[in-house]
């Protein structure tokens, strides 16, 4: 059924704070907030905490659906009760002003955590209660390359509303029924937009595409070439440069790997899940001391293969990278994912 409601709305600049204040009444609001020199997507309690001008948030939305640490179960060794599940509370969360690439990345987390026959109830409970209001990237960041990997600075994947910043305020595009519902609730703040606003919105969006300076080689070509590059010498080359700190995986919006451990404190036991990284040697170390990925080259290979070859094989050709550029920008050794992809592109040609 086609909705008769307006698919667009206009939020005047001076009403932004009021809008955020209203959101705070609807659930827990997570928004970009400055912390020293960086911006973190985190809970805000007042509209004033929102960073109106901000660089790419250091974290991504993984934190919200798969927290860095969480208690899966509790146990009490001596008690009658064997163990008890600790499913998260189903609080409504509203993410305000996430970037379209980070929203898109959730699709890949969904692939993993919703996969049958064992959908992950911890993830799903959080995921089902997250509403996403994105802010389109009118001025993409230096390391961004979303547009060469199937995304766009104004992409709509997984978003309920996407906002475009124009001169006198923000244009809201309602994407889902949940998004429209927000619009209805804010009807006293949201105005109709003018033809001029529409023209400006189109211009801003077109311009953003042109501002993305970085370009990755054709991802489906990379994906195909990787199938015959498991033994390629390029992995040793990049592995030698890597220090194995794992920051690329901790910052990646499509990484989900985790560890499970038991910890005890004050007589109570907790089985906890924590983020883990394929860049650490312990990740795959067997008790026998055999390690299938014993060197940094094999671990760099795992990261790239997983995103660009294994995930597409398992999930209908979908490449698990959104081109946010965090791994390249924040690598202490300046290992640039695009350079690795270019190496694959070249080496693959030689092999062919």
């Amino acid at each position: 059924m086609v909705s008769k409601e307006e698919p667009l709305g206009f939020l005047p600049k001076e009403k932004l704070k009021e809008f955020v204040q209203e959101l705070l009444g609807l659930g827990v609001v997570l928004a970009p907030k400055k912390e020293g020199d960086i911006t973190i997507m985190q809970e805000i309690r007042t509209a004033g905490e929102l960073a109106e001008d901000f660089e790419q948030t250091r974290n991504n939305l993984r934190t919200i659906v798969e927290p860095q640490n969480e208690i899966l179960l509790t146990y009490q060794p001596s008690a009658e009760l064997f163990c008890e599940e600790n499913l998260p509370e189903e609080k409504q969360k509203i993410v305000f002003w996430c970037r379209p690439c980070d929203a898109r990345a959730i699709s890949y987390l969904d692939d993993n955590f919703k996969d049958e026959p064992f959908p992950d109830p911890y993830y799903i409970r959080r995921r089902d209660r997250v509403l996403l209001i994105g802010l389109g990237c009118d001025s993409p960041f230096p390391y961004c390359f979303c547009s060469s990997i199937g995304g766009s600075p104004f992409g709509k994947d997984n978003l309920d509303i996407v906002m475009t910043r124009v001169d006198r305020g923000y244009i809201l595009e309602y994407i889902t029924e949940n998004g429209q519902e927000i619009g209805r609730k804010m009807s006293d703040i949201i105005q109709r937009l003018t033809d001029d606003d529409m023209t400006e919105m189109r211009k801003v969006q077109e311009n953003a595409d042109k501002m993305i300076r970085r370009k990755a080689p054709d991802p489906s070509d990379i994906s195909r070439k990787l199938s015959s590059m498991f033994e390629s010498p390029i992995w040793k080359k990049w592995g030698d440069k890597c220090i194995g700190c794992g920051i690329c995986t901790y910052l990646c919006p499509t990484c989900w790997c985790f560890d499970i451990n038991d910890v005890e404190s004050r007589g109570k036991g907790y089985r906890i899940r924590t983020w883990d990284s394929c860049q650490f040697p312990l990740f795959t170390l067997h008790t026998s001391s055999h390690n299938p990925r014993p060197d940094k080259g094999s671990r760099v290979r795992q990261r790239v293969m997983h995103k660009y070859n294994y995930h597409p094989i398992n999930y209908g050709g979908r490449i698990a990278c959104v081109g946010c550029g965090r791994c390249s920008e924040l690598c202490p050794m300046d290992i640039d994912l695009i350079s690795i992809l270019e190496d694959i592109s070249k080496a693959g040609e030689k092999d062919a």
């Binding site: 911890y122 883990d276 067997h286 008790t287």
Partner: protein, 279 residues
């Protein structure tokens, strides 16, 4: 929402059999779920896995060594080795462990009907094999010849020795035991298992070979099987990799694009040949 897959079920240890002793001792634990419903819902195939929990230590993925044809109890033959398996050896009868599963694909025992089965095991690799050969012995008329080649470092390290000897005596299967180094009282073959296979050269006619054990043993055994005329798709083995979730989520047990916990642990040699050397 379906049940929480991370939640282990309480299982009571009913019996502990000391199979071998020493630093790397093996014990077989027989356990029963506390909850009758859990027990009747736990339907498994030979070669499938379960996540065993000892709260405070963590979890370890272990293959069922029992066959679903044997009883409602589950059995796990566990070598004392790592963080979890070491404390498992301190368990006493009546104590509880956590069990969740079953996981993985298991052996395609239904596809093997009408065929002869050649089992080749080394060390603790006998654990998953036993699940399959006990299943075949309990459905004896469905299978042709059943042969079990099993080798251990020494006669003290032979797991399920008594049971294997009684299977041999029953005539239901041929059992060939071997040890790696000579011992005064040992009358059987001395040498590695694949060498024993080579010596007796079992036929590959209408036969499925299943090899489990140390990686080196499997490699040599597969070469031997190929030269005996076994087609790669008729040779099966189990792969293992470190696992934390067991349900295809935690991201570490993959060999190339294949998650061992979901698509494995049983693979044919034909499948393994197509995998990258990621194990």
């Amino acid at each position: 929402m379906p049940e929480n897959p991370y939640l282990p079920h309480a299982a009571v240890v009913r019996d502990i059999a000391q199979e071998t002793s020493g630093e790397r001792a093996v014990r077989t634990f027989t356990v029963d779920f506390e909850d009758e419903n859990v027990s009747s819902n736990f339907k498994y195939r030979p070669g499938q896995l379960a996540m065993i929990s000892v709260f405070g230590r963590g979890e370890s993925m272990i293959s069922m060594t029992s066959s679903p044809t044997m009883s409602k109890s589950l059995q796990f033959a566990i070598m004392r080795y790592g963080r979890v398996t070491s404390v498992l050896h301190y368990l006493e009868i009546g104590e509880k462990i956590g069990v969740r599963g079953p996981y993985g694909n298991g052996f395609p025992v239904a596809d093997w009907k009408g065929k002869s089965l050649l089992f080749i095991g080394g060390g603790i690799g006998i654990a998953p094999l036993r699940s399959a050969y006990m299943y075949a012995l309990d459905n004896r008329k469905d299978y042709g010849e059943i042969s079990i080649f099993y080798g251990a470092r020494s006669s003290q390290n032979i797991v399920f020795r008594k049971e294997l000897e009684s299977i041999a005596q029953s005539g239901k299967a041929k059992v060939e035991l071997s040890i790696d180094k000579p011992e005064d009282d040992w009358k059987g073959f001395v040498g590695f298992v694949p060498a024993n296979v080579k010596r007796l050269s079992p036929t590959s006619d209408n036969t499925i070979a299943i090899a489990c054990g140390p990686v080196v043993m499997i490699k040599v055994a597969i070469d031997e099987l190929l030269s005996l005329g076994f087609a790669p798709e008729r040779i099966f083995t189990t792969m293992e990799n470190k696992m934390k979730c067991g349900i295809g989520k935690c991201g570490r047990c993959n060999i190339g694009s294949v998650l061992v916990c979901k698509k494995g642990p049983v693979f044919s040699y034909d499948q393994i040949q197509k995998m990258p050397r990621d194990f």
